[in-house]
């Protein structure tokens, strides 16, 4: 699948999202809960701004010295019996993992939730190679059965309701009980236990790797990442190359920011750090351990004005406060990374061609920037993307370019400007009802499709100003 999900044009995806009442209700209630959880956790901490400053300093230092820390990490993992593969592209990563799986003659693979494996389309590769891949995060398991992409990076099945989930369990797994979330979860527990115990290979993502000692850390609530790393004999962790910290001390700060910003928890139920293979005489844990470090377009962002986008720790705080996400939902973005960070990151990783609409999916209200636990200036990045799309990439729609050219000419000819502002009210009369235009002509249509446009005033600003200066009515 890769980073891009679906081929429908942006407008169609948005339309579909807006018409999905359940999804919109679910998203707005989830946003409310996530947001108040984060604010409460921040308030309890008392000095949240200091934490954010520290988080930003750590991320910035790590990215500035990324080559150093990645080298250290790979040495440490290797010292502890692990194998490390540096993958420049998604294809290289997939190819390496497929080889490991085939060499093991693995039939069943259990996975814990990982956005980077979604990004590189790993499941598809492995299924093509004949292995059964089982997603074990509850939300991802539901989506996998329905062949549906995630719509949120923390709770991927946010767009589904419990009736739909019951239906899916019933038709795909013979589930017979009610749509109570507890019963659904108990069923998932029973079903997936069997999968964990019989899997040949476990695959995880990586929240943070610790360069100094080679520990790879998973932050979860369900415990599936622990099972994935404890039971199968072969384990593969896939990490985006920027997902590391210098030492254990920075791990503390980043995890503390992540769990609070993501779900308002002081820590999630499980924060698990595994280092290389199991040691001699240990019963559980992998005998064979692989760490795959993925670039896939990230290095192009280094050294550019967008470098801080790589500071992202995937907490979704920006998604949870975004008014645009609230209305259009995750699938509208057409990327495995939705919301403000998705709109910044997706065009950087996958180019503007398919994603030129994303930087416009924002009101630039800056709620995202304020929510970000590592202070990524998200809305400023979005503005910069727009500038690049218009000025360098020349990807603004033709009509917009014509309009802008026209505006430039018109604005620089005072006579034309004066005449048309005077005429505007008359010209728009046929579309005007009670001082608003509900369905405008030509370029106005895009606006009035979604909201009313106020009719031009009877008096132009210039004539009002002139009267005022003469001491008339103001």
């Amino acid at each position: 699948m890769g980073i891009k999900i679906g081929n429908a044009p942006f407008r169609d995806r948005v339309q579909e999202g807006i018409e999905n009442d359940f999804m919109r209700g679910a998203v707005s209630s989830a946003q409310g809960r996530f947001r108040s959880g984060r604010l409460k956790a921040a308030e309890e901490l008392g000095d949240w701004e200091d934490w954010r400053t520290l988080g930003e300093e750590i991320r910035s230092h790590t990215l500035q010295n990324l080559d150093y820390y990645l080298e250290q990490l790979s040495e440490q993992v290797s010292k502890r019996g692990g194998k490390v593969f540096f993958a420049q592209t998604a294809e290289e990563a997939n190819e390496y993992i497929r080889n490991v799986v085939q060499k093991k003659e693995a039939k069943k693979i259990v996975k814990s939730k990982s956005m980077v494996t979604e990004e590189i389309g790993l499941n598809e590769t492995l299924e093509k190679a004949g292995a059964e891949v089982v997603e074990t995060d509850l939300g991802e398991w539901i989506l996998q059965m329905d062949e549906d992409p995630p719509s949120h990076i923390v709770t991927p099945a946010l767009h589904k309701n419990k009736e739909q989930i019951r239906e899916t369990f019933a038709s795909k797994k013979g589930y017979k009980n009610s749509d109570l979330p507890e019963e659904l979860a108990t069923f998932a527990r029973e079903q997936l236990r069997k999968e964990f115990l019989s899997a040949d290979v476990g695959i995880t993502g990586c929240n943070f790797a610790v360069a100094e000692s080679g520990a790879v850390t998973f932050v979860t609530n369900e415990g599936n990442a622990r099972l994935v790393t404890a039971l199968p004999e072969t384990q593969i962790s896939v990490m985006g190359m920027e997902r590391l910290v210098p030492t254990w001390e920075e791990l503390d700060v980043m995890v503390s920011l992540l769990t609070r910003a993501a779900v308002g928890q002081k820590l999630t139920s499980y924060v698990t750090s595994i280092t290389g293979t199991k040691q001699e005489d240990e019963v559980d844990g992998p005998e064979d351990y692989h760490l795959v470090i993925v670039d896939n377009g990230r290095s192009k962002i280094l050294g550019t004005e967008f470098q801080s986008a790589l500071h992202c720790i995937r907490c979704a705080a920006c998604i949870n406060v975004c008014p645009v996400y609230r209305h259009v939902g995750g699938h509208s973005y057409g990327s495995v990374y939705p919301g403000p960070i998705g709109a910044v990151l997706t065009p950087l990783l996958d180019g503007y061609d398919d994603h030129k609409d994303l930087p416009y999916a924002s009101t630039l209200c800056a709620a995202c920037t304020e929510a970000c636990p590592v202070k990524i200036p998200l809305h400023e990045h979005l503005v910069r993307h727009r500038e690049i799309i218009v000025e360098k990439e020349k990807k603004a729609p033709r009509s917009e370019r014509m309009m802008m050219d026209g505006f430039a000419k018109w604005g620089s000819h005072p006579a034309a400007y004066k005449l048309s502002t005077k005429m505007a009210r008359k010209a728009l009369k046929p579309w005007t009802k009670e001082e608003v235009i509900q369905s405008g002509p030509g370029p106005l249509k895009g606006w009035t499709d979604v909201r009313d446009f106020p009719a031009p005033s009877e008096q132009t600003f210039r004539s009002w100003f002139k009267t005022r200066q003469k001491g008339g009515r103001s």
Partner: protein, 236 residues
């Protein structure tokens, strides 16, 4: 070859950063703020226990106190409350000191199947843990702020003990309490610098497993334990 493609990959990273490759000489900066050390600064062990107790309510975890003398009684009670017919426990050097070795041996007489983690028995350990109702381990470092027990998993303390059974019981010596994760990771960081290998698996466990994946409803008990009990022991 245990490391592949590294040179070209990292050279490209250095190029993109617009400088020569850095292989040594990088030190962490002095950060401008360090708010983590202010959390519960100067709190006594007793105050930390109270914080832990408060946090247990948030994380759906039963909180109990005991002395060295009453510990086995409290464990026994907890096993019963959790319908424990089969119990698995870590082979910990503290078992003797806390009077658990004989307690565990006697569980059989009370009709409870008991298994002490034993690396020589291989995957049998996992099979037992999978069927067990209760798993018991000590906490190595306990974080008061978040209500977290830290386990340095090792030969005698398999990852499955705190993971596969329906109920997890953590024995928390009062002396293991620290304000938050910062103290625990500083310990690991220093030990590593002194040449002590970090455990192949460090588990920070905060209550039972849970999920909010179905309509954002909190479900306690998904893949890991469904219930958790913490027993704080007065050891100092």
């Amino acid at each position: 070859m245990s490391i592949q493609n590294r040179e070209s990959f990292l050279n490209n990273v250095a190029d993109q950063l617009g400088r020569k490759r850095r292989s040594k000489g990088v030190t962490r900066p002095q950060y401008s703020v360090e708010p983590q050390w202010r959390v519960f600064e100067g709190a006594t062990q007793d105050e930390l226990i109270d914080k832990l107790e408060d946090q247990c309510r948030v994380i759906h975890t039963h909180f109990k106190r005991s002395t060295m003398d009453t510990l086995t009684e409290v464990i026994s009670q907890s096993i019963e409350e959790n319908d424990g017919h089969a119990v698995v426990a870590a082979d910990d050097k503290r078992n003797d000191e806390y009077g658990l070795t004989s307690f565990y041996e006697n569980l059989h007489d009370e009709g409870v199947a008991f298994h002490l983690w034993d690396p020589s028995k291989g995957r049998e350990n996992i099979q037992f843990a999978e069927r067990a109702d209760v798993g018991i381990t000590f906490s190595d470092i306990t974080l008061a702020e978040s209500g977290t027990v830290t386990l340095f998993n090792h030969q005698g303390n398999g990852r499955s003990i705190s993971l596969l059974p329906r109920t997890y019981i953590a024995i928390i010596p009062k002396s293991t309490l620290v304000p938050r994760m910062s103290q625990a990771v500083r310990h690991i960081h220093k030990a590593h610098a002194d040449g002590v290998d970090v455990s192949s698996c460090v588990s920070f466990i905060t209550g039972p497993s849970n999920s909010a994946d179905i309509e954002m409803n909190l479900i306690v008990g998904v893949h890991g334990p469904v219930k958790a009990t913490y027993i704080v022991v007065e050891d100092m």
